[in-house]
Symmetry: C2
């Protein structure tokens, strides 16, 4: 304990060096702000993220289902797509998603750039096409000029669109949670109950999957290890990508960062509360029935994982022109 106190003192004196020394003892590391970001690309990506003209209806943007006012999710069980279609799966948070080993619950996209094109062209989500999206953007001189400034090319293409959205999403990290302050040496940042919850989280084995800076997001695991999970969604997880039967019901472990804001929980959005999610995880993944008191302490710890939320000015989108094709929200086909 004296050694650890010394390392805190060094941490306070020398900044990140000492903080890393402290965090190295723990299976969870602090979130760090995004580095090496192309600011021009971020500003363009922010506009695209908020632009519903990337959907057939002109009504659905990235932010509709990954709402940055609400923890980067839509806070509903499964998302609403074009023509009010019911989505097959719960929208994962975009916050800290740059830390994921892959994107989507089944990891079918290698990175944020590969993910960003998916919903635009998915008939059940934004129901547009990449060709139509490019046509929309090309019809607007202000977009043309901004793409040219950022990418130095005369023509807009979908690679530029997804690269810009991904660059913006890389900025959506949430440092400075109370837990991270504790990790960096501020012993008063957590209450006794929160600390007890963290100890339970480690000692019970939650941390086997929920570790690293994102407290998850870095492995695929079977949903229902000790006992089967009765999902309300038909999604089968990683098998859809690998074709291997062993990957059936394997899903990417979700990040627990900002988990207080990203309800409801699980890939099917079936758990409405953190208490319910902790109870199900304990029983099905660890074969452990947490008492109410234990559950409450773990939930208290989880609520200390909420960090600084995205902080930026709402973007103003360039207006359509006479040449811009109009959205088709109510078209029959």
């Amino acid at each position: 304990m004296q050694v650890r106190s010394l390392s805190i003192a060094i941490g306070l004196a020398f900044g990140t060096i000492g903080a890393c020394a402290w965090a190295a003892d723990e299976p969870i590391q602090p979130i760090t702000p995004a580095k090496q970001i192309n600011l021009g690309m971020v500003e363009l990506g922010k506009k695209l993220y908020f632009d519903p003209r990337l959907s057939k209806s002109g009504f659905i943007s990235c932010n509709s289902c990954h709402n940055l006012s609400m923890g980067g999710t839509d806070n509903i069980k499964t998302s609403i797509g074009h023509n009010w279609q019911e989505g097959p799966i719960n929208a994962p948070t975009v916050l800290n998603s740059s830390l994921n080993l892959a994107q989507f619950w089944d990891g079918r996209a290698a990175d944020l750039k590969a993910q960003a094109g998916g919903p635009i062209a998915n008939p059940g989500e934004m129901a547009f096409s990449h060709t139509l999206a490019i046509g929309m953007l090309e019809s607007i001189p202000a977009y043309q000029a901004e793409f040219k400034k950022v990418f130095g090319k005369d023509k807009i293409d979908i690679d530029q669109v997804t690269a810009a959205i991904a660059e913006f999403e890389k900025t959506l990290v949430t440092p400075n949670s109370r837990f991270d302050k504790w990790l960096k040496g501020d012993k008063k940042a957590l209450t006794a109950d929160e600390l007890a919850g963290y100890k339970l989280f480690k000692d019970s084995g939650c941390v086997a999957c929920h570790n690293g800076p994102a407290v998850g997001g870095n492995s695929f695991q079977k949903m229902g290890v000790v006992a089967p999970y009765k999902a309300s969604s038909p999604a089968e997880g990683r098998v859809a990508v690998t074709g291997k039967d062993a990957d059936r019901f394997n899903f990417k472990v979700p990040t627990l960062r900002n988990v207080e804001m990203t309800y409801p929980y699980f890939h099917d959005g079936a758990a409405n509360t953190l208490a319910e999610a902790v109870d199900v995880m304990g029983r099905l993944q660890l074969g452990k029935k947490f008492t109410d008191a234990e559950n409450a302490k773990i939930v208290a710890f989880l609520k200390a994982l909420t960090g600084d939320q995205p902080n930026f000015t709402l973007p103003v989108l360039p207006a359509s022109t006479d040449k811009t094709p109009r959205p088709q929200p109510f078209a029959k086909k």
Copy 2:
């Protein structure tokens, strides 16, 4: 002209006094920033404006159809409501709506506060109820605390909700358009074509209805004065409020501020472009067929009416709690 130049000099020296002297010659006055605003109420109202939990689905907020990234409109012909219902009328811009003589196209709400409760409880829009909205807000301690801080009462009620939204909306004015700079004495703020368009706008009679700081919004007028307008919407306008047959097809004259961003046009959203809108207005309201050159000049003038767009940080909404009723986007009833 020397007298006018003198008044400009005085305007530059003495600020608004001189500017008013200049603008007094014109039927349109500059937009002024909002005054006497309750900042605490504005911040609360901003959250409510962006909170989709005021809808049954948890998906539709005020900002969905009055999108502050897109001129305070949704830029679609008629809006999308709960369960993808097609709205009966084009969503008017919320920008500068505090200057309107009444709210909605038919003026059925006296002011912004009276308007704000409408969409929440409209089965074709947000499909919620005031009681359910209050229940949602009361279940969230952070909202409870903010309402108490702003209104000093222990219970949240719908009057507080609509007052806060209205207070936020009062801040959504758009000063500093190039036309306003010209009005205030900056002769270089407009091009020769834009000035010629403004002269046509006045000389042709457009200004009879589109005048004042909002360039409209201050009277009800018949849609189709010289020749009938064949609307694609069943809306009958002001008669629905007054019951007087003389008010059939009387609609509130829309503001032309930021009109480049608030397409499509008219109460039924039938005109996709400004050129089309100017042509229809000329023929049906004034009995005048503008030449292509005249039309282009008027359009050029109209595009000079775009002012400073809302500039604020995207609000972060307080998370729901275990007690918060969950949204019902796909409920059968």
